[in-house]
């Protein structure tokens, strides 16, 4: 769309750098913030670091930006080792959680700052500032003070400032967490569009799994300083590798499963699984509410379906659907989501129900502590 500064579409590949993170460790006293983290981020990829607070996702981003010095390990942008490089020599864009727009400068002043530091001629600075403002739909607001902007506008200025000097890597630290829900969803799409247009390698930190699923090419799930799983959103959702990932991504309920001689048992009945079980020991069956179906009472092991019986405890209205909470064997709780369309007959609390779960959808993960993940 644009030409020259703020590069056009199609140049994405050439404009981005791959990132190779190898064996990064960082301890704060006895707390392991990052425990032997390795991650390859492809050139031009939108990679999200997802995890709860304290999982190390922000620390990892700070290691990439140079604000946190790791204890050991290596970070390479393309072939270049950068782990020893101070932040101001790394030449990467960053959007901070609270935007960090300089309050003593105007919007244009903020955008011009990185260009001035790079000794770009005055006329070109003006031109590029204008283009960057247009890029984030803030044309004409250059003369405003930062404190005169709304939260969403500040967010856009921060985004424009992070990309105006055309870095080949862009880091974002929970940039949308301060916005209200509607604006956040709108900005998610805008950030994603900007990424597609500018093509830079983007590393995005969030604790919001929905945001991660919406925006990312791939997601790296972190917990307690370790990477649990790296996969595209759908694979992460459909085939979580650990109990933690299953629990953290999307809604899920779990039932204990025992594995003997490669055969999985749910309580006292055999459980059909799509793949062979790997190891013995305690496991969990992960149930997604929307993938459970209500079967007629007579049904007993339809082909291709695992059957779970239980008693309805409560049903909760969600507008487009109803969540039915079901107690299994008096001790375990699961839930199924029933979309509300047509005449659905809903089971009432106290009813005994038979639920079906497709064998292809059946996920069994090891129950061990999440730290044991690959």
């Amino acid at each position: 769309m644009t030409s020259g500064p703020l590069r056009s579409e199609g140049m994405g590949g050439a404009a981005a750098l791959p990132i190779t993170i190898s064996r990064i460790r960082k301890n704060y006293g006895s707390f392991r913030a990052l425990d032997n983290v390795s991650l390859d981020i492809r050139s031009g990829e939108f990679m999200t670091l997802l995890g709860p607070s304290g999982s190390g996702k922000t620390t990892l981003l700070m290691v990439l930006s140079g604000f946190v010095r790791p204890d050991s390990g290596s970070v390479r942008f393309a072939e270049r080792e950068v782990v020893l490089l101070p932040p101001h020599k790394r030449d990467i864009g960053m959007v901070f959680q609270n935007y960090a727009l300089f309050p003593h400068m105007t919007v244009a002043g903020n955008l011009a700052y990185p260009l001035k530091l790079r000794h770009v001629p005055r006329a070109e600075i003006d031109e590029r500032v204008e283009k960057a403002l247009d890029l984030v739909q803030l044309g004409g607001l250059g003369a405003r003070g930062v404190d005169e902007l709304s939260g969403g506008q500040r967010q856009r200025v921060a985004l424009a400032r992070a990309v105006i000097f055309e870095p080949r890597i862009l880091l974002m630290d929970e940039p949308l967490s301060a916005l209200d829900k509607n604006l956040r969803e709108q900005m998610q799409l805008e950030v994603r569009r900007l990424h597609e247009r500018l093509g830079m390698t983007t590393v995005y930190v969030t604790h919001d799994q929905r945001e991660a699923l919406t925006m990312s090419d791939r997601i790296a799930v972190l917990d307690r300083g370790r990477i649990q799983q790296v996969d595209p959103p759908q694979a992460l959702y459909d085939r979580p590798a650990t109990h933690f990932v299953a629990d953290f991504i999307g809604e899920s309920f779990s039932l204990p499963v025992t594995v003997n001689d490669g055969r999985a048992m749910l309580f006292d009945q055999p459980l059909h699984v799509p793949r062979d079980m790997t190891g013995p020991g305690p496991h969990f069956l992960v149930l997604r509410p929307e993938k459970l179906t209500l079967l007629s009472d007579a049904a007993n092991g339809e082909a291709g379906v695992n059957v779970i019986r239980g008693q309805v405890r409560q049903s909760v209205f969600h507008g487009d659907s109803v969540m039915i909470y079901v107690t299994v064997r008096d001790t375990h709780e699961i839930a199924l989501r029933i979309p509300l369309r047509g005449n659905v007959v809903l089971p009432q609390p106290g009813d005994h129900v038979t639920l079906g779960y497709g064998i292809e959808d059946t996920i069994v993960v090891p129950a061990g502590t999440s730290g044991d993940a690959p």
């Binding site: 101070p86 101001h88 901070f96 959680q97 727009l101 003593h104 990185p114 003369a143």
Partner: protein
């Protein structure tokens, strides 16, 4: 319908009354302070102002005419020179200390600030005499410097301008450091990170981002130190050894030596007017600086 309307109107009036009495109640909290300021500050100042235009025969400008004498000009110059010097030294010493304290962990910062505040808890007189002991001809400092062979003859560190400045800097430093520290503490560390991320070296980030953001604190510190220095009395009287004549000392002399309330009042009014003028100028100046920095 009409019943509802009349209820609405009644409520409207009652709500307005409630809002009014609530404001009045809030305002009443400031009455004691207003009374105090009125009786202890404004009334005496008004009285001084009145006295400065009066002598035995009624209205006169004689007290102000007397101030045109060159000796008063010299005093005024000394007063301003000293205030400038003290302020400048306080900035040079205070800024780095406040900066370091602001970067420290809260625990260590508390200890540093405690040390900064420590002089506040000892009497001004004691501190001034302590400087006298340290700085005099055969004082501790001169003895050490001579013992180490750095100097042959004792330095004249006291009973002059230098000694007065040293003593005043010591007393004024906390007034510089505290507002600076408060301003620096409120600077989000992400500003400096953002500057570095955008390509600014630590030195550039400091001068282009940190210093401008700390200006409000610096301005407050400079103003307080300068204005307080203009009215200093005890320290110059003791450490100046009679060679440093400050404006406040002229006031004291008019009263103690000549019992001339009119002259003393005129001196006081002049100092007040000059101080107010400086405060006004300063607020204009910082306003202009802020506007210029904002590019607005």
């Amino acid at each position: 319908m009409s019943a509802a309307e009349s209820t609405d109107r009644q409520n409207e009036a009652a709500l307005a009354r409630q809002a009014f009495t609530e404001q009045l109640r809030l305002l009443s909290l400031s009455f004691p302070a207003l009374l105090l300021v009125g009786f202890i500050v404004l009334v005496p100042i008004g009285w001084l102002f009145w006295l400065s235009f009066m002598d035995a025969d009624g209205f006169t400008l004689a007290h102000y005419e007397r101030l045109l004498h060159p000796s008063y000009a010299l005093t005024l110059r000394t007063t301003f020179e000293l205030a400038f010097l003290v302020t400048a030294v306080c900035v040079v010493l205070g800024y780095p200390l406040a900066y370091i304290a602001a970067q420290m962990s809260p625990r260590s910062a508390r200890i540093v600030l405690l040390c900064v505040l420590f002089p506040f808890w000892t009497s001004l007189l004691v501190r001034t005499y302590a400087w006298l002991v340290l700085l005099q001809r055969r004082g501790q400092l001169n003895t050490w410097l001579q013992d180490w062979g750095i100097i042959d003859t004792p330095l004249r560190l006291v009973h002059n301008f230098t000694g007065t400045a040293i003593g005043m800097v010591h007393i004024m430093l906390p007034f510089m450091i505290l507002p600076l520290y408060a301003a620096m503490k409120s600077i989000d560390e992400n500003y400096m990170r953002a500057a570095a991320n955008l390509g600014a070296s630590p030195v550039k980030a400091f001068w282009q981002i940190y210093v401008p953001l700390s200006l409000p604190g610096l301005g407050a510190g400079v103003m307080v130190v300068f204005v307080l220095s203009l009215g200093f009395y005890v320290t110059p009287a003791l450490l100046g050894g009679g060679r440093v004549m400050m404006w406040a000392m002229q006031i004291e002399r008019s009263l103690a030596v000549y019992s001339d309330w009119g002259a003393a009042s005129a001196l006081g009014v002049v100092l007040l007017v000059i101080t107010l003028a400086i405060l006004w100028l300063f607020s204009r100046l910082t306003g202009a600086v802020n506007a210029a920095a904002g590019g607005r």
